[in-house]
């Protein structure tokens, strides 16, 4: 019984972080059609800057976290203005080649960013202090309060994202942009401005995920590629561009990984999710919740 509760609690926390980490990535793909391979590096920017400000500059965990989030948004806009915009507007690229060039360019941006992070922060993992100390005992299972808080905050952010998309004019415009950008332009919306805001929203979500991650399991420059791979798996599994699909996929992946880690070996945590991804790509290439 204890084991089941442990697995469920762990799944709740891991799934929440996975979901938050993948939400921005899937929104970006839904609206602009770009699969951003710099995602993990941007998440790590937030983690490391938050750690640096909180502990090295003695700004405290909350102010440090805010600076970390700001750094992720800033880095996202650097990617947007130096890679996405110039390539999207290039006349030398055929439109059918553009997604491939953007895909590769975000990967190159990630590698550059990772190198810079390693140069500045080193490769030794760092961790921000717990937002809240202590443990709570749930049905005989000891759970750090900080981990529970991280799960709750992640879900609060996802809830706020849902409210924003479904109840605000700008959110609805973003949703519409993912369905029919031309239609949206015809009714008078500035697509460029929507893209600008979507990238900002993406940076915000990646930044929050990074700050929470730094407090949960810590971060280092060399985990960027793993974070990208996990988020990429979730987004493809849930259906590219489908936010609800990504949330479901995050929990499926979180559950499979947690069960494997508890019952077989933590070293094999990633394996079942990747096997499932291969099966899904064979049987349902659009993802579990994607449309044709």
């Amino acid at each position: 019984m204890n084991l089941i509760i442990e697995i469920l609690i762990s799944t709740f926390i891991i799934g929440a972080i996975y979901a938050l980490g993948a939400a921005g990535l899937t929104i970006i793909f839904g609206v602009s059609g770009i699969l951003n391979l710099a995602h993990g590096a941007i998440v790590v920017v937030a983690s490391l800057v938050a750690w640096y400000c909180a502990l090295q500059l003695n700004m405290g965990i909350y102010l440090g976290g805010l600076v970390g989030i700001a750094a992720a948004i800033l880095t996202t806009y650097v990617l947007y203005f130096t890679v996405v915009i110039p390539l999207s507007r290039s006349r030398q690229l055929a439109s059918e080649e553009l997604p491939v060039f953007l895909f590769v360019s975000t990967l190159l941006f990630a590698l550059i960013l990772q190198g810079l992070l390693e140069w500045f922060f080193g490769a030794t993992p760092v961790s921000t202090p717990a937002m809240i100390d202590g443990v709570v005992h749930i049905a005989g299972v000891t759970v750090p309060l900080n981990s529970l808080l991280i799960g709750v905050v992640a879900w609060a952010v996802i809830g706020a994202l849902w409210l924003f998309i479904s109840h605000t004019r700008m959110g609805k415009a973003m949703l519409a942009a993912s369905m029919s950008p031309k239609g949206l332009a015809i009714v008078g919306y500035d697509i460029g401005r929507i893209h600008f805001l979507v990238w900002g929203l993406y940076g915000l979500l990646a930044g929050i995920a990074g700050v929470l991650l730094a407090s949960f399991i810590g971060a280092s420059s060399n985990v960027a590629i793993n974070l990208t791979a996990t988020s990429f798996t979730i987004v493809v599994l849930g259906g590219l561009g489908n936010v609800l699909g990504s949330l479901a996929a995050a929990y499926i992946l979180g559950f499979l990984g947690t069960v494997t880690a508890f019952l077989i070996s933590p070293s094999l945590r990633e394996v079942p999710g990747l096997l499932l991804l291969i099966v899904v790509l064979y049987a349902r290439p659009q993802g579990l919740f994607g449309r044709h």
Binding site: E6, I14, E118, P129, V135, S221, T258
Partner: protein, 426 residues
């Protein structure tokens, strides 16, 4: 007259040429003597234990140069960042020898990298002094094939010895102590790396001998991020001692041990915990963690240790020297002595012979290498008495400080249990 004159001109020319040749012959040795001797240092630059290697080598080289170098020739350090990669290291070793002209290479923090570089030491016929990696496969390789691996020297004790010493420390501080003798149920907790295999074997043999029962044996990937399932298993096994063998990882397991309040004393070998920066890196979660290391806090193992500690901390902002700073510093002086005895190291075989005759007092104790026929071939001799070999201390993190708890004559404190560990024992 013309012919005489012509002859005298020819003679004058010959004298000038001969004089030039003679002068250059006289000058050349002086010029050669002034040429620097190139030494390679290789480590992962971005890692705290890699930085320690570079810093210690730099400090020792500057001291040696200020004292007149090697028979008047200065040492020139060439630094190579290997990014933990065996392939990068092998390429750097080739470049170092073929382009930069290094006469010896030293450093290396990862055992897998050290093992991959050993064949290159043989192919390039260049001495390799491993100062930060602990795998017992390194001396075992030299013993198995001394002709091939004679260029390899291990300036740090191997992991089997580290494990044995950790058992001795556990015996002295736990099972022999009235207060802590209840800490006798251990889980072996090792990262999956080349250096930890001999550690696990040693733990499995020596822990029962000192009265500690091994209730579980966990090896985990160094990429592990969430230790919850592992700590859950440790709690279920009802263990109250975690005998660790970690160096690639360090921060994450310690932070999560504290956050999850795992009711077991964290002891054994924790390479990163030997760095004074570990307190900040773990936000203080390392309070109560015990580990063993060859050098610490300037613990006065010899009369040279405090001076090294002072010079290092004054010069570098990285904090106090980690274990591989001590071993690298001693290795640089071993190399310096051998270079003096081998006329600058131009002949690699002469340099190897000179290294084999190393015998001096360093910052960790006596520095001398085992012969190729010994079990730990070409490894620095280990002894709990620093006058006889490289020595070892154990410490516990207490209130942000590394407090030596063993050996007794150097101890500055006793074991203190973290609150969540002591509560669980009531």
């Amino acid at each position: 007259m013309r012919s005489f004159s012509g002859m005298s001109r020819s003679l004058a020319t010959a004298v000038v040429v001969a004089g030039g040749v003679l002068c250059s012959a006289l000058v050349m040795p002086t010029a050669r003597a002034a040429e620097p001797i190139s030494i390679g240092v290789i480590a992962p630059e971005s890692h705290v234990l890699g930085k320690s290697i570079f810093n210690a080598a730099e400090l020792a080289a500057d001291e040696i140069n200020k004292a007149g170098g090697i028979n008047g020739r200065m040492l020139e350090l060439h630094k190579y960042n290997n990014n933990f990669s065996a392939a990068d290291s092998s390429r750097a070793f080739q470049r170092a020898v073929q382009q930069d002209g290094v006469v010896a290479m030293m450093g290396i923090f990862t055992s897998e990298v050290a093992l991959a570089m050993m064949p290159w030491a043989s192919r390039l016929q260049t001495p390799l002094l491993v100062t930060g990696a602990a795998s017992s496969e390194i001396p075992a390789g030299v013993k198995a094939n001394p002709e091939r691996y004679k260029y390899v020297f291990h300036s740090y004790v191997n992991s089997a010895i580290l494990a044995q010493e950790s058992c001795i420390v556990a015996n002295a501080t736990l099972t022999q102590s009235d207060k802590f003798k209840g800490f006798n149920r251990a889980v072996i907790f090792s990262e999956d790396a080349a250096w930890t295999k001999p550690v696990d074997e040693s733990y499995l043999k020596c822990l029962p001998k000192v009265g500690i029962k091994v209730v579980d044996h966990i090896r985990f990937s160094p990429d592990t991020t969430d230790f919850t399932p592992i700590y859950s298993r440790i709690k279920k096994a009802d263990a109250n001692v975690i005998m660790a063998a970690v160096a690639h990882v360090g921060v994450k397991p310690v932070i999560q041990w504290k956050q999850q309040e795992v009711p077991a004393l964290f002891t054994g070998i924790n390479g990163q915990a030997g760095s004074s920066k570990f307190w900040a890196a773990t936000n203080g979660a390392t309070e109560g963690v015990i580990t063993g290391t060859p050098g610490l806090n300037g613990a006065p193992l010899t009369d040279k240790t405090p001076a090294f500690f002072k010079a290092y901390t004054k010069r570098f902002d990285i904090g106090e020297p980690a274990y591989d700073a001590y071993t690298t510093y001693d290795a640089m002086y071993a190399l310096k002595d051998a270079l003096v005895r081998s006329d600058g190291g131009g002949d690699a075989d002469k340099l190897v012979k000179a290294l084999e005759k190393t015998d001096f007092t360093g910052v960790l104790g006596r520095v001398a290498f085992h012969g190729t026929g010994d079990d730990y071939a070409h490894e620095v001799i280990f002894n709990q008495d620093p006058t006889k070999g490289q020595s070892f201390v154990a410490f516990q993190w207490q209130d942000g400080k590394q407090v030596i708890i063993w050996p007794e004559k150097l101890a500055k404190g006793k074991i203190r249990l973290p609150a969540f560990v002591s509560q669980s024992q009531k």
